[in-house]
Symmetry: D2
Subunit: 276 residues, 4 copies
């Protein structure tokens, strides 16, 4: 059974409240006997500090203070270590997070007792022009740099040219990302247990365009006619130039989330679905 | 390698043309050295006849004359035998079929040489009120019996009640069925290699309703408030009473289709997607 | 200013509660000095009775007890008289209704004081095979008689053949009907002040199909390849055979609703839209 | 009857082909007896030149060489003069344009004979923070400046706050614009004869969000939480800062297009709809 010893603590640095909650999390973990390492950008003085880039290899699990965006950022930076993440939610929505501020004490105590389970979410590996650009937990978006100006992209599956489309862009999402940007763009809700890539066009000027779900074993490739007019966005956070073909395949890495009993469908019902 | 010896021939009995093509198929197969068994409802006299229900256990493969509907019907009746099917297309659309009338001679010759490959499509197993109702290759639809009068259904996943919805109905499709009724109802295109169940509401009076993709390992259950006001339709062909909960799970059976080199994405591009 | 003298009372006859509320409405109207006429199918003995078909020409306004369905039925039967309707809502949804049971006393008192306003909703005139079939307040639906079996329809605008589509059917809605079946089928929300016809396909097997909004001055016509396989449904209530072309034009009649200050956008916000 | 005497000629200056076609148009008009004024940015020497900004008040009609984008630009610059426009299409799509290069001679000859009709398209008047920003023929888009980063907007109708939505943005389109960006974003097709404003959210992170059609008599207002994170785009061409509330109302101006018999529904069928 997985029993973490060393806990990393990180969070949003632009919110005073996040820093205060991080301090409280450190104390709670300390009291429960965990060794605590703090993200040095948080500026918390009492505990050993570490750069977030190195946190993945130093700790057994990470507690993130913020929301889904914080989890996405941390998961991307520490992707290769697959360190389990417990997301503390400071905001309203929070579909990936598991606890709110009021549940912190109980949560840390359950961590110490090993009273939790791990949920795995497969990631996508991104390459741009042949160069490895790490993993996406939610989605890779190829999008016009100039809002409201269409680009024309070509979509290939395992080297087969499937179609070209004029659109704002296109995204390739994981099931985890199916309830994020892909959902806004008309994509289906896909549970994380189904390992697949969801290809969702963004405002396509083409009436036949539809979201498409392919195996993660496929190599999904996107080319843009004028690459300098488009950019690549990973997990809604990191922006890159479109220097060649964007290639998306199954990553060897998964994200791991600590859950205290909540299931995917329970969270889906609570956050998205209305009981009519 | 799979080399069929005994070929079953069936097709639409309501089209004179289908019967004539079936006769031609019989002769072509005969000449190539196959043993031929004909569906007795076709009324073709020269070859040994068999009831379609028994064809599955008597033959190594089946040639269907008609369109996708014919394939769906034959696949359902012979489901447990998983006999490879070659679909001859007499109509316009034909996404599951592989050859047209003009390609018949070449096709039978390739069958004889073993020059083809098999494509597998996982099916869904249906139960209504606990009673086994066979397999669906495309979808199971729970729908109002009275067109334009809504029903209210409850959707459960592995026993967890996820939501209720007022709608014309709801369908649970395989990836194979994702380009049929589910697509009309707004569901995503899903390639058959992704084993999953696609849950697509039919004209839901609920703005949050979205198509949902879950693992085929899930037990998807649908209950209707007034079951006598709804019915169950399998593969758009067979109508059943809604005598209790409709339960949909992975079937142990697959459909097998004979392909002469065409791939799923090639057929998708040809039939559905426009090159812009 | 419009001051009603004679009030007709009608409602659902299949709900005991509706009949009791109708009795209470009669007494309240009586006390406020209105002359009261009761729908004879309600079986209320103390007041003069009238057949609903004749109510329109005998009364100055009608109070309906039930929900939107009751209003649709009454509005259709009394269409040519354009009698103002006050809808009492017994159910949950009620977008056309204006008061609930608890607001009845106040409502009747305001009727007596003339303290209300009238909201007009343009209707559509239906013809089938040239024969006049009255008005629709919400929509006319041409739909397959056999659930889940597609029909093929041809859509013409002012005699110009615009397109053919395989689908479950198609509906032509008023703006009033834009928040009913048309919305479920993917149509836009249209405020009643915009006089137009909304053409919404039902589960079209055609990726280009989109909802379309045309002027009510247009003659929208729908033909079906096999008319005996389809039927016509008016306002989700009345079923008719498809004996020829269905023609839909602006009706000379409007529905009139009594409102106590609520506006369309207030009701829309309350019933459909979430404040995020 | 409208008989133009003075013809303005303008077009894309970034395409050599457009300039050559413009020269040919000038000669054809000259020969047919029209007085010709050329947009000075085209650099054509033989005819009197005028700045496009002043062309509207100097000419009776304008011939544009390019595509729909060229028409949109010219119509916006000359909006107050409502000069009839004949669009010459150099590209592929062209829904507003009327003739291609090969039809030029015949077209100019028909202009000279008065053998054409005028089609009017109502525009929307835009204000940002109270300041008049001219007219839109297609749409006004309020959109995130940072692609793939949502903004939160508040939508008001005649001062009534209807809803807030997290999204890429939102657009308000004319019926003319209903087949442009609004269609890509899921809006309905609306024929120009229906005077209305179409409000279409762009990738809303809100499952209830739907396109909405309101009377052009309404004042549609859009506010954004962080205006510096958004921008305003008019007709997909002109970018402005979001300095306050964006207000959209009916413009007093219409665009006028010269048509040689083609109707809206004929063009719609040819460009968008498939005959199934």
């Amino acid at each position: 059974m997985f029993r973490p010893q060393v806990v990393g603590v990180t969070g949003r640095t632009d919110l005073g409240r996040a820093v205060r909650v991080a301090e409280r999390v450190c104390r709670l973990c300390d009291r429960e006997g965990f060794e605590v390492l703090v993200d040095d950008s948080l500026g918390i003085g009492e505990y050993p500090r570490v750069n977030l880039k190195d946190m993945g290899k130093e700790v057994d699990m990470i507690i993130t203070i913020g929301g889904d965006g914080t989890i996405l950022r941390v998961s991307r930076i520490t992707s290769e270590y697959e360190v389990p993440i417990l997301g503390v939610n400071l905001g309203k929505f929070g579909f990936l997070t598991e606890v709110s501020e009021s549940g912190l004490k109980e949560a840390v105590s359950r961590l110490a007792r090993g009273d939790f389970n791990l949920e795995e979410h497969r990631k996508l590996r991104i390459k741009i022009g042949g160069s490895d650009e790490g993993d996406a937990l939610n989605e890779v978006t190829v999008i016009t740099s100039r809002p409201a100006k269409m680009i024309r992209y070509r979509l290939s599956i395992d080297g087969f040219e499937l179609e070209t489309t004029w659109a704002d862009g296109v995204l390739v999402a994981t099931p985890t990302g199916s309830t994020a940007y892909s959902l806004s763009a008309g994509g289906p809700i896909v549970e994380p247990q189904v390992e697949c890539s969801i290809i969702t066009p963004l405002n396509p000027f083409k009436l036949e365009a539809r979201p498409m779900v392919v195996s993660m074993d496929r190599r999904v490739e996107i080319d843009v006619d004028d690459p300098e007019r488009a950019e690549v966005v990973v997990d809604g956070q990191e922006y890159m130039n479109l220097d060649g073909t964007v290639s998306v395949t199954r990553s060897p890495n998964v994200a791991r989330f600590i859950r205290f009993g909540s299931t995917y469908f329970e969270r889906l019902k609570e956050k998205f679905l209305r009981w009519d």
